[in-house]
């Protein structure tokens, strides 16, 4: 990740503020998997896993793992009251039918109009798209949690994605260690900036221009 656990938790905590009771939420691997730790204990949220669980709960205690109860990343989970299992086709029917309120994913690049590129680096890393293409295209709201820049310091928020797209014009919000952007009507808007950074720093590390509204505020914590 190239980022400390504190920064990752700050981003996860910010993303958690976008979740409200009763929502169906699908989380990608990596930083998004930290999001449930930041929700109020009494909030009823149905976490959906594309391998066929609706109503995932927290990780089990060590020694309590069930090898046949895992999330889509292959890690043991538990279930909450009201949970159900289904086959993979049904799990994706839920996605394509628009039943997922919020999907939170990582990404390699996001363009200023919300194009998502998170599945391959041609010639280098070709893991395959898994379920990302359908989640990105069909979730009601899509939040990307990612580092502001890549390992070489290059912007990951760009005018035009240079990597192959997972899905076009699908991202609604980007949360990085430096800022929160909203994407609305094909426009990139800087909504919040993290404590300790400046708009100049954010501009220098972002590969495209963005709007700065008059009500811009510090990143919510």
């Amino acid at each position: 990740m190239g980022m400390g656990i504190e920064a990752r938790n700050r981003m996860a905590k910010r993303a958690a503020k976008e979740i409200s009771g009763g929502m169906v939420v699908n989380l990608g691997i990596g930083i998004p998997s930290l999001v449930p730790n930041h929700l109020p204990k009494d909030m009823r949220v149905m976490f959906h896993a594309e391998n066929g669980i609706t109503g995932m709960g927290p990780s089990p205690e060590a020694g309590e793992e069930d090898e046949n109860l895992c999330n889509a990343g292959g890690f043991p989970v538990t279930i909450v009251p009201g949970a159900s299992y289904c086959d993979s086709a049904t799990a994706f029917g839920m996605i394509r039918r628009g039943k997922i309120d919020l999907s939170i994913l990582g990404s390699l690049q996001v363009s200023s109009k919300g194009d998502l590129a998170n599945w391959i680096i041609p010639g280098k890393r070709i893991p395959g798209m898994g379920g990302a293409m359908e989640l990105a295209a069909k979730a009601k709201k899509l939040i990307v949690l990612m580092n502001h820049t890549d390992k070489e310091g290059r912007p990951k928020i760009v005018q035009q994605c240079t990597l192959p797209l997972t899905s076009a014009e699908c991202v609604d919000m980007i949360i990085t260690e430096l800022a929160v952007f909203k994407i609305s009507g094909g426009k990139l808007i800087l909504a919040e900036y993290a404590e300790g950074t400046t708009i100049d720093e954010i501009a220098a590390k972002t590969g495209c221009s963005f709007q700065i509204p008059s009500d811009i505020k510090l990143m919510e914590q």
Partner: protein, 230 residues
């Protein structure tokens, strides 16, 4: 156990239905719900040049990954190979052909094959060259769709918690995943199961895969790999 339908059998008999160069579909998601004894049997039989169809290529020593990482497949149709770096290396070196299909579309193509349909229409992947490339498009009711062909296989292998002598299957939690779909799409379907129970002891309301789709039932030797989280 009474065996009135002659479906209850053993690993050796199951392996007689498998040959080099065959197309085989497997259940499982990251190895969870993949049949361990059948996969080990296929390894031991030395099967090669296989076309494997399933959600992913497991891990190098987990699930179908055992066959893939030892070069036994010439082609895989999957949604993800990232958890098996050997698969990625074989693909980059030209030793393994990989057809990527978005996860839910792959599941639905398998389901369509199992349901006796020829193809599905979807808007997923329309704007993605690697997915929709060379695939037929069609207009229907003013919308554009990609035609995704249905998938079937010569043999399907699945892993279930319980079977009765007719092959009715019940799965275990998230180990269900692609198994009910894969079970329907095989020309010959073999279920490896944790427990075989007498006819009539499964509640008909709880059966997930009706035994009509299952040709052979064999007892499992159990999962013998170490999970990534262990």
């Amino acid at each position: 156990m009474e065996n009135p339908f002659n479906k209850i059998s053993g690993l050796n008999e199951a392996l007689q239905h498998m040959q080099d160069g065959m197309t085989l579909m497997f259940g499982g998601f990251g190895g969870v719900g993949s049949p361990p004894s059948l996969i080990d049997g296929m390894m031991a039989k030395g099967l090669k040049n296989l076309t494997l169809i399933g959600n992913d290529t497991g891990f190098p020593d987990i699930g179908i990954g055992k066959l893939v990482s030892r070069g036994r497949a010439k082609k895989v149709i999957a949604s993800h190979i990232g958890s098996n770096p050997v698969a990625g290396r074989l693909m980059n070196e030209g030793d393994l052909e990989v057809e990527f299909s978005p996860q839910g579309i792959l599941a639905e193509r398998i389901r369509a094959g199992g349901m006796g349909l020829g193809a599905i229409l979807t808007d997923i992947g329309l704007d993605n060259e690697m997915v929709s490339h060379r695939k037929k498009r069609m207009q229907l009711n003013g919308k554009t769709y990609v035609v995704e062909p249905a998938l079937t296989a010569e043999v399907s292998i699945v892993f279930a918690k319980k079977a009765d002598p007719y092959g009715n299957l019940v799965y275990d939690k998230s180990a269900r995943n692609t198994n009910p779909l894969v079970a329907m799409a095989g020309n010959f379907t073999i279920a490896e199961v944790e427990e075989i129970v007498p006819l009539g002891s499964l509640d008909p309301e709880e059966i997930i895969t009706p035994g009509i789709f299952v040709d052979m039932v064999i007892p499992t030797g159990g999962v013998n790999w170490k999970w990534a989280w262990e």
